[in-house]
Subunit: 323 residues, 2 copies
């Protein structure tokens, strides 16, 4: 069974079926990038309808135990996540309300600085701001996992310190393996390790690099090297796979409403909008090759289980709202 710590895009029944065919038992979806409170409730509503319409193969998971139960019944567990804290719209009291509505993972910033802290794409990272400190502690008590994937390194280190529970980098790689603003310094990864956090290794070409995308062996070698930095208890999978994305979706994801100019996110000028998927991961269901790939680079059965789902389940158990 695989838990994918981060996917995005327009999910549909075909996507659910492909994920199940790929032996994915649970996936954190992306309910929003830039959306405010009401738009985020709209998105949660659409997700509830989508899952209700496909109740024979999918169910929203609220706890780690839910994920195991749903997966064991042959269905896909959907864990509702957001890649930005803008759903809270500056209101500390909205954190527990969105937790009650089923949100379980929230990234502190997306690609731009906000009132919580700095993003990896800003020239300067302020560290965790006053509201960011409040929100991290509130997420701890409300039962939402803190995600720092697109967050700046300084803010991420602050969040690790301020958080009373372990945090996640749901979808990023190590900068020491592939240098990119979106990837994390070894300092951040070691701080995750020291506090029980988890990094989900990404399979998005722009932040993984051609070398590690070339084959499943190459990608699993990257995972093994990440384990060398983070330890076996702190490495998992967060592919960043997107479903049914077209040019307007990339424009929305990168530019939102904050600029009339160009912004390329993890991509760059002159590159195609959609990065080619890794050679081993052209279809969603190809994700099923990961466990054998991990075995082939030398991981034991117990280690494969940790990387593919055990570490996420442990972290979710430690951080998700009970009930």
């Amino acid at each position: 069974m695989i838990i994918d710590g981060l996917q995005c895009g327009h999910f549909d029944r075909a996507a659910f079926e492909a994920l199940l065919a790929g032996d994915v038992g649970g996936v954190v979806n992306t309910c929003g990038f830039w959306e405010g409170a009401v738009e985020s409730m709209d998105s949660i509503g659409r997700w509830r309808d989508l899952v209700r319409d496909n109740a024979d193969i999918a169910e929203i998971a609220l706890t780690a135990r839910d994920i195991t139960r749903i997966s064991q019944s042959g269905k896909l567990a959907i864990i509702m996540g957001f890649q930005n804290a803008n759903l809270f719209e500056g209101r500390i009291r909205f954190v527990e309300m969105f937790a009650e509505l089923g949100v379980r993972v929230v990234q502190l910033t997306y690609n731009n600085q906000n009132e919580l802290g700095g993003s990896c794409y800003e020239a300067e990272d302020s560290g965790l701001a006053r509201f960011g400190k409040e929100v991290v502690r509130e997420m701890n008590s409300a039962g939402i996992l803190v995600d720092c994937s697109h967050v700046g390194d300084r803010t991420t280190l602050d969040a690790i310190k301020v958080s009373e529970k372990p945090i996640a980098v749901t979808h990023a790689n190590a900068q020491s393996l592939f240098m990119h603003k979106r990837n994390k310094s070894d300092d951040v990864i070691r701080a995750l390790k020291d506090t029980g956090g988890v990094i989900g290794c990404a399979a998005y070409r722009n932040i993984t690099g051609d070398e590690y995308c070339a084959s499943i062996e190459a990608w699993c070698t990257m995972v093994a090297r990440t384990v060398d930095i983070a330890g076996i208890d702190s490495v998992a999978i967060g592919t960043d796979k997107s479903h049914n994305f077209t040019a307007p979706d990339y424009a929305w994801m990168r530019k939102g409403r904050w600029t009339r100019g160009e912004d390329y996110g993890a991509s760059a000028a002159g590159k195609p909008l959609k990065a080619a998927p890794p050679e081993w991961f052209t279809k969603i269901e190809d994700i099923r090759v990961i466990p054998d790939g991990l075995r082939a680079v030398g991981f034991s059965e117990a280690e494969v289980a940790q990387i593919t789902h055990g570490n996420w389940l442990r972290l979710y158990e430690a951080t998700f709202k009970k009930s």
Copy 2:
């Protein structure tokens, strides 16, 4: 005639009458501190009604020329301002729309970091973030004056560099005269001077200090010392006077919705919620003593005119949307 670059609170007819009795011809009000786009439109709507209901003594000014005309007709010119950029809710395209609705002054941040930049009350100031750069240029072309009063020094210096038009610090003093986070370094004040910007000297005790509040002579001495730093073309008045504020207003102003804890803004634990007004400025209409106070500390008639209204009018002419 006096133009006050910043006041706040719940204005009413009595406040308008008191301002006119104080020889105030124009005032930048505070339409919002924390409010989002729709709430800000609500506030603009309430202001329009208030001014319409008192059309015999007040009128909304859209240009510098409006201010002169309205004032010369014996009425009070209301210039609509916001102490935070949250009215834009992260949308670059909202800047010109709020300009069309009559907004003429917007502070980039209030007391907390936001997606534009850093605040004077945050431990670290990131400087102007990516969205902040976009918004400053958009405010330039849309005709809204950039205000950096509560903004961090680094972000203020960035805004001065990025802005194609002069900017304002509508209500703050020099840190070299009274040390407070809310006041500005001489570097910031000199950068304002070099670019045609203006600082409005405040008369709010928490950021002015007891010495400069003790008498009109003392406060005008502070203004004169500010002129020593900023030059005669870059100093004006921004009292920060509040109307009809009660405890819940202070709580809203300082805590908004971002914290359940305490925050004191420019005040401090153990101090009363409302700082005592300067001895010379206990009633709104007392503001009329300023011109004579400036004369008494040695300013010429031409200099008094610059400080009391001319510098604001010049800056407004340079930055406000025409018509």
